[in-house]
Symmetry: C4
Subunit: 498 residues, 4 copies
Amino acid sequence: MSLISAQTVAEHASSDSCWIIVHGYVYDVTEFLPEHPGGSRIILKYAGKDATEAYDPIHPPDAITTHLPKHKHLGPVDPKTVVKVEKVLSEEEKKRQELVAARPSIDEIVNLHDFEAVAKAILPPKAWAYYSSASDDEITIRENRAAYQRIWFRPRVLRDVSVVNWSTTILGYKSSLPVYISATALGKLGHPDGELNLTRAAGKHGVIQMIPTLASCSFDEIVDAAVPNQTLFLQLYVNRDREITKRYVQHAEKRGVKALFITVDAPQLGRREKDMRMKFVDEGGVAKVQEGDSGVKKDEGVARAISSFIDPSLSWKDIPWFKSITNMHIVLKGVATPADALMAYDYGLSGIVLSNHGGRQLDTARSGVENLIDIVAALKTRGPWPNPRFAIFVDGGVRRASDVLKAIALGASAVGVGRAFMYSFCAYGQEGVEKAFQIFRDELEMNMRLIGARSIDELTPDLVDASGLHAHVGLTPTDNLYNTTYQPLALAQFRTKL
Amino acid sequence: MSLISAQTVAEHASSDSCWIIVHGYVYDVTEFLPEHPGGSRIILKYAGKDATEAYDPIHPPDAITTHLPKHKHLGPVDPKTVVKVEKVLSEEEKKRQELVAARPSIDEIVNLHDFEAVAKAILPPKAWAYYSSASDDEITIRENRAAYQRIWFRPRVLRDVSVVNWSTTILGYKSSLPVYISATALGKLGHPDGELNLTRAAGKHGVIQMIPTLASCSFDEIVDAAVPNQTLFLQLYVNRDREITKRYVQHAEKRGVKALFITVDAPQLGRREKDMRMKFVDEGGVAKVQEGDSGVKKDEGVARAISSFIDPSLSWKDIPWFKSITNMHIVLKGVATPADALMAYDYGLSGIVLSNHGGRQLDTARSGVENLIDIVAALKTRGPWPNPRFAIFVDGGVRRASDVLKAIALGASAVGVGRAFMYSFCAYGQEGVEKAFQIFRDELEMNMRLIGARSIDELTPDLVDASGLHAHVGLTPTDNLYNTTYQPLALAQFRTKL
Amino acid sequence: MSLISAQTVAEHASSDSCWIIVHGYVYDVTEFLPEHPGGSRIILKYAGKDATEAYDPIHPPDAITTHLPKHKHLGPVDPKTVVKVEKVLSEEEKKRQELVAARPSIDEIVNLHDFEAVAKAILPPKAWAYYSSASDDEITIRENRAAYQRIWFRPRVLRDVSVVNWSTTILGYKSSLPVYISATALGKLGHPDGELNLTRAAGKHGVIQMIPTLASCSFDEIVDAAVPNQTLFLQLYVNRDREITKRYVQHAEKRGVKALFITVDAPQLGRREKDMRMKFVDEGGVAKVQEGDSGVKKDEGVARAISSFIDPSLSWKDIPWFKSITNMHIVLKGVATPADALMAYDYGLSGIVLSNHGGRQLDTARSGVENLIDIVAALKTRGPWPNPRFAIFVDGGVRRASDVLKAIALGASAVGVGRAFMYSFCAYGQEGVEKAFQIFRDELEMNMRLIGARSIDELTPDLVDASGLHAHVGLTPTDNLYNTTYQPLALAQFRTKL
Amino acid sequence: MSLISAQTVAEHASSDSCWIIVHGYVYDVTEFLPEHPGGSRIILKYAGKDATEAYDPIHPPDAITTHLPKHKHLGPVDPKTVVKVEKVLSEEEKKRQELVAARPSIDEIVNLHDFEAVAKAILPPKAWAYYSSASDDEITIRENRAAYQRIWFRPRVLRDVSVVNWSTTILGYKSSLPVYISATALGKLGHPDGELNLTRAAGKHGVIQMIPTLASCSFDEIVDAAVPNQTLFLQLYVNRDREITKRYVQHAEKRGVKALFITVDAPQLGRREKDMRMKFVDEGGVAKVQEGDSGVKKDEGVARAISSFIDPSLSWKDIPWFKSITNMHIVLKGVATPADALMAYDYGLSGIVLSNHGGRQLDTARSGVENLIDIVAALKTRGPWPNPRFAIFVDGGVRRASDVLKAIALGASAVGVGRAFMYSFCAYGQEGVEKAFQIFRDELEMNMRLIGARSIDELTPDLVDASGLHAHVGLTPTDNLYNTTYQPLALAQFRTKL
């Protein structure tokens, strides 16, 4: 195949004929323009040019080759003809890179919040907006965290806790932690290796990763990065085109994935205002993706741009079909009510994840750990609990091993952690993820000893006081006039100013 | 009719003979001075001069011609004799106009709060004070908002939500939204077109507007701005002079208004301190209106000045009379208790609005949505609910489509939104109102899908958890000394200052 | 009586012979030194000098003549011999006087908080500390205010409220307000006319004043300032020497006082830290009073210095004695429990005040209005409520007419207001107190109309929702790390900085 | 014994041969290096040098002689050979010393918070971090304080309170206060006399001290500082080597200690992040201790370094052994549940301390005073309460005498106070501790009078309202957008800026 000169490519720079270069290869995307989930405008910006840098963080490498018919793959560009563009760093970007250099040493990271604080400081603003945003008033994302702090421990003492063991099995597969890595999208926005950071760390430490449908890395890249016998699960957004879904699921099963987590709380992606506002900050960047010419609304963020394929018609009627196309465990991710939990049980599924999608979907939805109480009670009507054929997982808001222990004491099998692991690799790559595991181990060891539970099955409901969990308290508005006039007490004063 | 020279007008500049110019026409208001609801002093300030600019935002155009006998309409002023007053902009006003120019693009408005923030920045301080103020300590206005955040969702999953439909009927009339535009007064304080912004946007989008008695635009101006078959309701403050009320109501019915919302929570207008304080900021402006020479107290704001005609003797005894003068639906606006709700039902009315007047009347009154719970329970004692012959509406504090969905799930037929629509036209005129509708549609679509409700009648009580709604929690005062001494945890530190 | 020269006085400037000048008269206080409730040191500071300025704000004018035997009243000082001391104003005092001059016009005062804010700014720091302080962590003083905001209205509509009437009787005596002026001490610290401001305003407006034992004005000065038939009550601290108490009570009865309010919540005066800290700010001022040489502890404030005569042995056994020495109504001020309320009832007293002494005594005591619920319930076991022979009053934290209405709806006969009236005269003298009455009237009129109650006896329990009153909620400590990292949502941004 | 020259010592400055000087004596610690609980690295830093200054605050004086075999005690250093190192004060240290000089006079200390505020300002940062830190998110340490503020008083009146008496017995021993000094570690970090400040003050005032296992002063130093018949208790961390524990306990009994408080809530010491972060501030200081070469994790703080000897296998099985080796009272410190309280009772122990170790161990554990309610209820099933053979103590969060009274009213025998006494000597040495006792006495006197309880046994449950104690309330996340837009009410404005 002969090389194509960059000059030739540059001649195809309009919607009538639109060529782009991705990873040194030229593609004719003219006919694909109207089908691009992110709208045609964002592609046209790169018409006749190299689009690799914009393409990479939000597409798996094979996205273009998979979606574009073979005859539109025009051939490699002639590297000699490509003019090296001198990249000028913006002031903001320079400052960001200084911050990267000034990061705290990884030894100084003592809890999971630290990763998030580092990531917040060093991520490009759009990546931070995409990752950290949640829907509407972001009530639910914060409630997810707050809910754990309404559960208190009632620790037992004088049990011999010289040896404590927090390893467990998740859907029958060994896990060194009672925690799995939950799916989060677009990992390359935060680190060039994206989700592979998780896969490699997980393989090394015996942790289970749930591969996201919307990963920046391709499914196969991720699976290839796994060590032999590393357990992987798959998170699934169901495509309007069921054939695509079927191929994807069956390919995953063939590659050894053990369980399918079908997302059921996202028939449409939530309005995430931090993400939406980003587009107005910089009209030319990642967040611009969403500006389609038709159909896709102008004011949507990255999230919606990449998710238009998701099928809002997905319903219980589809469940038997899933059971017919795979033998993997099927778990519903995003269940919130006893009624739906019982449906999942009665459909013969393997479990459910009590999740509100990290607060990114329905705002003022209750937290997973709160729903856990009612749902465990409902499932007990189907037989003794825990039930070996049905697992409940919880995700959202977990930052401490103590959160994990509380959820398990209340009936969960294991807990999913998404953002915290993602921030750990945004901050320190694979080493960050391994440090995050270490923090979980340290905290698990300490807390299990202090609670008096030596193994996961000793985590029983009597160890926690969840009586305040259902109290959704918003304050009576305060009396500003009184508070303005009231003079708070002061302490004894030093003779000089402190 | 011969022209009157401005010089002649200027000779009538005292309480003995007081002429004013409004919209190029000269009026002799000498005898009207003691009857002016806003007091005589404010008129005397313009005695012998052009009063148009002060007159416009707080009177409908026809107020003066309606209230003044014909022979006091002296004739047009001779425009050649009017000295153009060079208007000097204050620094404050210049700054305000710069802010108007710097408003965010309407595309950047992503929620209803944004309108309010823009309006707050660009409105003249007196307009902002009048609109935003509420009574006493403004506890209730804030509780109205807070109450919705004590209601949480319990969403259902795996229902086919490809099509969701939020259109409904309100008192039998089609509405494209489960929301109507509630009455708010003095729209021209915030935009030269005043309430017409609402009428035009509502007509275009199939939304129902409730016309306020205290509109800046005249009733007929508003009705004239409607498209054919546009549904309009009327909010009524009942006049001490029942004949005026009768004429007003019957005129409205003749002009096609479909329902009469009688305000029952305002026998006297509330003390709104932000509004009251305004008078001390500028002794010469709008807020000065209230300084009557007698009867009207010196320290009252715009609100009371314009409302002295309202009849505090209004009682249940008047209800049969209303039924005798009109065939429109009659709805009581401002009901708060099961007892009064049952009275309304038993009097054969069409419905009630659970309202506390946007927090502008009785402070520390409970929110409408909280009262909804008890009142629906009470009405169930009269037969199955929903009841086709009786509707409950709720207003106050609504800022999100999710609020609307919560109220409907708890038994409301539709929800009234006042300030949010008003701020939308203060910020961007009619286009602002249309954008507000669009935001409601976007949020309704998303939230209905995420809740698993495909139509208004699928919004059932099981979808919400309102168990915390009745918790009126004010905090135990804090231990300031302890809090001063306690050093909060810090995160890992960067090597350079962030 | 011959005049004494200032030089002669100056020779008696030690504890061996200590003369002082008060109001132009010379007294030999040598033998009184050890008995001075405020300690001898503070007197010795003025030994041989004119002590009038320090004496005045904390003693009734006749204190010295009453407590000192006649032969120690040496005679008038020769005014010609007194060297006029050029008073140098401190910078702080100059600033304070500028503030006094810059006070808001009294027309701008729209609520009772405004008085407090003005007083806070213009009072000498020690007076502010004495008045505003409460005991320990000042939890109770703030809870007193907060409790009212946990009571919500359930207003009735469509009652004819053209006429509303808030006058009532208190212990059978007419009162133009359902509010009486509660006793507060040392009024001259805040205004030269001290408690007379209250007496004069009360007389003019038909309000009942409770005279404090610790007034700066003498009892007779206050009674003399009353108009004919003005109702006065008396607050009583019971002296260790019962004869003094007996004389005081019988004198009061003779002078026409109608009721005796015996303080029972102050066997010892509370530790009020703001007051205590004052002494370290200025070693030479009012707060220094407390430095006694013996017995009185060094670190006590004004409060304790002036209260050492109070008898901690006072008990139920004394009640019959009180009934034997007076025919006035006897009311216990400071009752907090149903048990004690029933005791008071069974002893045949006329009523109780549910009070915690404005938060100045036992800290973390519950508020009076909270105790009201249980106590009314308990008294109902003795017969129907309201009971014509026994009244319950409530004080503490009242700032709004709506507070008054809530307490009455829950069963109180009337409400005591102390600090708010005191601040009103500190800020504007008698005119301030009259304005405070006016604010009560305005707010009572508005709120009674809006609640639907036309007279005091229409204030029934169904009009309020006190279900949250007993909720003493302190928050779970917050997750500082999460909150530090969480980035709050922002609104749409203007193109220029606001 | 001949003197060793400093030069000779300096030759032994590696892990092959490591000599150090402590208090003028040379020790060969080469073989001890791997056994040092704080890791070998911290010792190697002083290899060949004088280590006294680093040694002192975290070891009892006899630690080195006790743990090192006799033949490694090489002999005294020749003082003439020791080069005086000119100590250069850091800027930070200079500032700290200026603050020490500017401390408030002890007369100005009016409550226990004041001590903490002074200590916070003048302690070296590492000492403050060690003392003030608690585990994880420091939720429990703050909850300990907050819990007391959810308990309210219901005071009785008209009891003769001329004499009130707060003395009591604790495990049968007289105590002038219903408070004992609880064990806190490493007192010399805050004051050169360390725990002796407590012993001396306690002896003088008849207060009972609990000697900590981890005191900076040796056990015998402390006992030697006691006056005759001064009651002392002992806090015990149980050593993996039970022989060491046995010797320690039996030695204590022989020296007259009356009760053994076995810590059961610390099988492993908590992760205290303030302490952990300290190590990164200064790589060369106290906090560095924890950097062991093996086993001890790099990121642990002072706390863990000094506690590695504690036995995590301690269990109920060990209780009979303790009873066999001592006749002292045995009390379990750190019980949290009714189940464990009953176990302790049934094992025949003398009591329990409801403690969460000052929030330093299991975070989000409930407070001791909250657990008290359930535990007293459980113990009542074993017979009438109070039970003369079993005592319940509570510690954590006590700062006011009112806290003490609340705990006793709810069933505790006495209350332990740790940090507050420690801060009192950090701030003012022994005099600080005595002042702290005085504050307790003043507050006890006042509060007992105001509650109407004349002696400890009159503190009955009816005097408190603990109905809100179990309410663990975390707030619904707030609506930031609404709050940003809402404009709080303002007070009347002065004509000039305040």
